[in-house]
Each structure stands twice: as structure tokens, then as C-alpha cells.
Symmetry: C2
Subunit: 200 residues, 2 copies
């Protein structure tokens, strides 16, 4: 998938509550060469959601057709709807030199790592379990069972951190966004990505 | 050589004229957690050179004794003198959390890479061959033969760039120093270097 002058495909995971959305938003303010992949979904738009911004809203028929034609980098069927990352958008952005973030869970992330060996992977980690717990408790309207489900899911995500190349601790949104920016700059300075000049 | 909270050992190479000294000086102004290893030599100090700053000036007997006792990370004998990187200084600095730069040629660099697999390697490259040539021509007092020898050595260094993990182009001293700083931050964010917290 990588070409000359190509941007990086970056798998971005971390437990719910780690602050993935906030950190990416800050990063996109810092540098205009980074974008987030927009997923396709078969579910109906929620109030306020815009087609092509939050999701590409497509029909179940189109989704199944795209799965058959291998048009997703990764996709997943949930109870009520299907979700997938469309190849075409990602490839267009990469070829234009943009770094494309896929914000996905650790299962999806590892699927993409297997399919695209050259991709980059960053895991966003909260500074401590206590802080994560507080964030997951949220509005305090959840039952103990719902909470335990959330905690258990967060533990599962954390258990899979070792599959990611980089770990960024989100103790401060600016610091975390800056570190991700440094990781991108460093990766672009990998010797195989830096062209030589004529000298013979 | 790497331990918990350890700094990075960084092999820093590039053709003469690439600006290694200037870039490192700028980097050391940017961050106080980086130091340069001071080599040992058996040659006499030149006017203005300070023992322990420019070099550790040691006798031939001491040098040979240290070679025998494996006290150098790497060493080399030239016509008139021997040069070596003392292990002890480097290890002390690494354990205290400092990142230690070894400014060495591509032969020395590859020796260290073989000996210490966990080390980092950065190649500093001039923006073009023409710029490098101009810098190598220097004061214009060299014979054609001396110049060709310099050019040939520079080509040899450039030919070995692919053995280095990162390539930094020195088109601007600030930009180059900043990029090296980003590479260090990124390397310290590699998942295996980031400790986890308790969450079970």
C-alpha cells in the first residue's frame, strides 16, 4: 500500500476513556498532513451526524457487495449494523502524502497489522487504571453490571498493547499529540523512506 | 547494555562535512539529557584540547591494557595513534538515563551495531553532493589528490547509509537537531520501553 512520497497508515487504539478522539483532534490542529479515516456503516445516521464526516452511511446491499469485492481494509458485523474501513479513501489520502489514522479496537488493529505489514501502530494509554476507571464511570447512571462490562473491555484492550509498536501515555493532551507528531516525523526519517541523491 | 530507565546509545555517523558537530551542539542546547561519548586516544593533545573534554589522553600501555581487558566498546589503530570508546563512561551515562551519542565513522558504527543490537543508529546526510563537495573543498589549499581522497571517503560513508536505522538530512541545523530529538522521543515511546500499570 505504501508508495513513494506516501503518507503513513497509522493504527490508533486504546481503551475507551483513554482520550483517543481528543488527542487526535489536537494532533490535527498541530499538523494538516494528518487525517482520520472515515468508516462506512449500515446503521442509520444519528441526529447531528453528517454523511462523509462521521461515517459514510451505506446500505446493507452496498456493504455486502463491497465485502465481496474486497473493498474494505477491515470490516466487522455487529448485532445491529456493519462497519468497515474503505480502501479507496485511505489509498487516495496516502498517495497524496497524508498520514491516515484508523481509530479501531485491538481486534481490528491486529487484523490490519496482518494485512498491511508496513503500517504503523500506536496505542494510547491512560496514565493509570484509577483515572481510566473514573472516566469509564461517566455519568454515574450505569448499573454495576454495565460498568463491569466496560472495565472488562478496557482490560482486554490494555492486554493487547504489546502488539503495538508505540505506546503514548495520555497524561496531557498537548504532550500526547506532540509525541505522536514526533513518532510520525521519526518514522518518515527511517532510512528506507529517505531518498538518496546522485553522487557518483 | 540497556537497563530499566536507561538512556539510548546512539551511533551517529555521516560524511565529513555533513555537519555532525554543529548539529550535536544544537541538540545538546535543546535537551540536557543527551551527551557525547568522549573517546580515548594515545596521541598527544593538540593546542587547546582539554583532557576529558575533547579526548581522554592515555598512554599506549594503558590503551593496550584496556583492549586486552575488553574495556572499549570499539577501538581502532591508525598509523600514528589508537582511538577507542571507553565502556565505563558510556554505561554510567546510560544508567543515569542520558542518551549517549557515539560520533564515529561507518566502520566503527557497524562494529558497535553488531556488538550492541539494542543501539540506535542515525546517519546525517548533507542536502546534496554539490553542497558536500563545496564544504570538503574547504580552504582551497588542498591538492587535487588530497581532494579526491576526501571525496572518495565521503562516497564510502554515503554508500553505507543503508545500515543505519534513521537518516537525517542536514538542510537546516535547527530542523536537523529537532528531528533527532523527535527520533529519541519516538524511540523512548516504543511499547517495550513503556512500563504498564497494575489493572487486575
Amino acid at each position: 500500500m505504501e508508495t513513494k512520497n506516501s503518507g503513513l497508515l497509522i493504527i490508533f487504539s486504546g481503551p475507551s476513556g483513554a482520550g483517543k478522539g481528543t488527542v487526535l483532534q489536537r494532533l490535527f490542529e498541530l499538523r494538516s498532513d494528518c487525517v482520520c479515516s472515515v468508516s462506512c456503516t449500515t446503521r442509520a445516521p444519528r441526529p447531528g451526524e453528517v454523511d462523509g464526516v462521521n461515517y459514510h452511511f451505506i446500505s446493507t446491499e452496498t456493504f455486502d457487495n463491497w465485502v465481496e469485492r474486497d473493498k474494505f481494509i477491515e470490516w466487522d458485523r455487529h448485532f445491529s449494523a456493519s462497519y468497515g474501513t474503505p480502501k479507496e479513501f485511505v489509498e487516495e489520502q496516502l498517495h497524496s502524502g497524508k498520514h491516515v489514522f484508523l481509530e479501531i479496537d485491538v481486534n481490528g488493529g491486529q487484523n490490519v497489522m496482518r494485512k498491511i505489514p508496513g503500517c504503523l501502530s500506536i496505542f494510547l494509554m491512560p496514565p493509570s487504571w484509577e483515572i481510566l476507571e473514573d472516566r469509564l464511570k461517566g455519568r454515574g447512571t450505569e448499573t454495576a453490571e454495565q460498568l463491569e462490562k466496560r472495565f472488562s473491555r478496557a482490560r482486554f484492550e490494555l492486554d493487547n498493547r504489546q502488539h503495538y509498536a508505540y505506546t503514548v501515555i495520555n497524561d496531557d493532551v498537548d504532550r500526547a499529540a506532540q509525541l505522536i507528531s514526533s513518532i510520525i516525523d521519526a518514522e518518515m526519517a527511517r532510512t528506507q523512506r529517505v531518498p538518496s541523491f546522485q553522487y557518483n
